[in-house]
Amino acid sequence: MPDDHIAGLATEQDSFGDVEARIVAESLVVDVDGFEGPLDLLLTLSRTQKVDLRKVSILGLAEQYLDFVEEAKRLRIELAADYLVMAAWLAFLKSRLLLPVDPNDEGPSGEELAAHLAFQLERLEAMRRSAARLLARDQLGRDFFARGQTEVVSRKRTVTYSATILDLMQAYARIKTRDDFEPLHMKRNAVYTMEQALERMKGLIGHAIEWGELSQYLPEAWRLDPKKRRSATASTFAAALELVKEGRLEMKQTESFAPIQLRKK
């Protein structure tokens, strides 16, 4: 019986007869197309009981659903997480319905849970029927019509500007999320480039006859804000290395994490 349901999921799985087809079928990862979520699947299963939705056996339904999930597992059909969550919940419901009531138990009874599920199914069904009835109504532009010609009587022209609530919300969202999609790049205004540092250092090293700390060479405006300070320190250090390479500067550090010192060579 569960095979019927599975077969309903994916047409590729019609021929379970020969082994090859079965292997192919089993290696397929099928999502549960055609069903709009676990509740929809439950509603479909409940129709197989061929009773009024109000008289549907929730216990029976839970079993049908669990069989379905078992069968899907056996066929290695990958079920979306919400189907598995529903399965776990139905297994719990089933145990609540079958086991004697524990008087110390605080949670809702199995019957209450079952009644709510029945209500949800009935409501979904009712909404489906209502949607169909709504669409079956006469519709503007299909069954009845508005005036084809609207009249321009007066020459007086007013200009109005149109914008919809959707335009408004999308515009706002666009502004507020603009930053989310910027490719990763640094905010330029917080970056002190090595070129800048090199330029500055070249002007300063002429006076660096004594050993002096690297931090003294940071530009005034880049000393307070930690972000700026970090950037300026890094580029000044890199610039200093560059000048050492060129033989114009000496650097030393007495021990790890001690201040870096430099002077003119």
Partner: protein, 216 residues
Amino acid sequence: MSESTEDSNIESLFDAPPMAEQERMIEAILFAVREPVTSKQIADRLPHGCEVPEALSYLRKRYEGKGVNLVKSGDGWAFRTAPDLGFLMQKETVETRKLSRAGVETLAIIAYHQPTTRAEIEEIRGVSVSRGTLDMLLELGWIKLGRRRISPGRPVTFIVTQEFLDHFGLETSRDLPGIKELRAAGILDNRPPPGAVGEVEDEGGEEGRDQDDMFE
């Protein structure tokens, strides 16, 4: 314009035109436009002192059973062709893209449960509202934002529009097919799942307590 019109304008400040004339005026106003016009909008255009509701009811009666009818949708009034004559207008039919099942169901849920939140729509359908569904319904002008729900998280609600009523030829949303029966049967009750005391919509708490903390 000529003097005579000015005179009659001045007169109209004091005396409303006779009922038959009011009826004619409303007829002309409603005929000239496609969209439903509210009684208030009509009254704003008519001379002072007109009895718009009364004139409308005469007009409606006059068009009863004719090829064109005066219909009410929401607050608005509009002339529409009689639905039984739709077959004559096939050339005028606008091909609208068919709404998907998700779209139609979402629309129905909003219409029957309004004002309703996205969480409630999801609870009823048992799946999350997919991207583009509400978007499309908003774009069609069939739904709009209602008041925020006064519950934790103050979630946004959705309601149907006058355009929706106009499109489906409904006078009010109380005229939705079967809504009385559904209400009587308790289907439209907001029944929280048992044991879910104090549990809130999933938008809850995250957002929107105040305009200020609504961002980010």
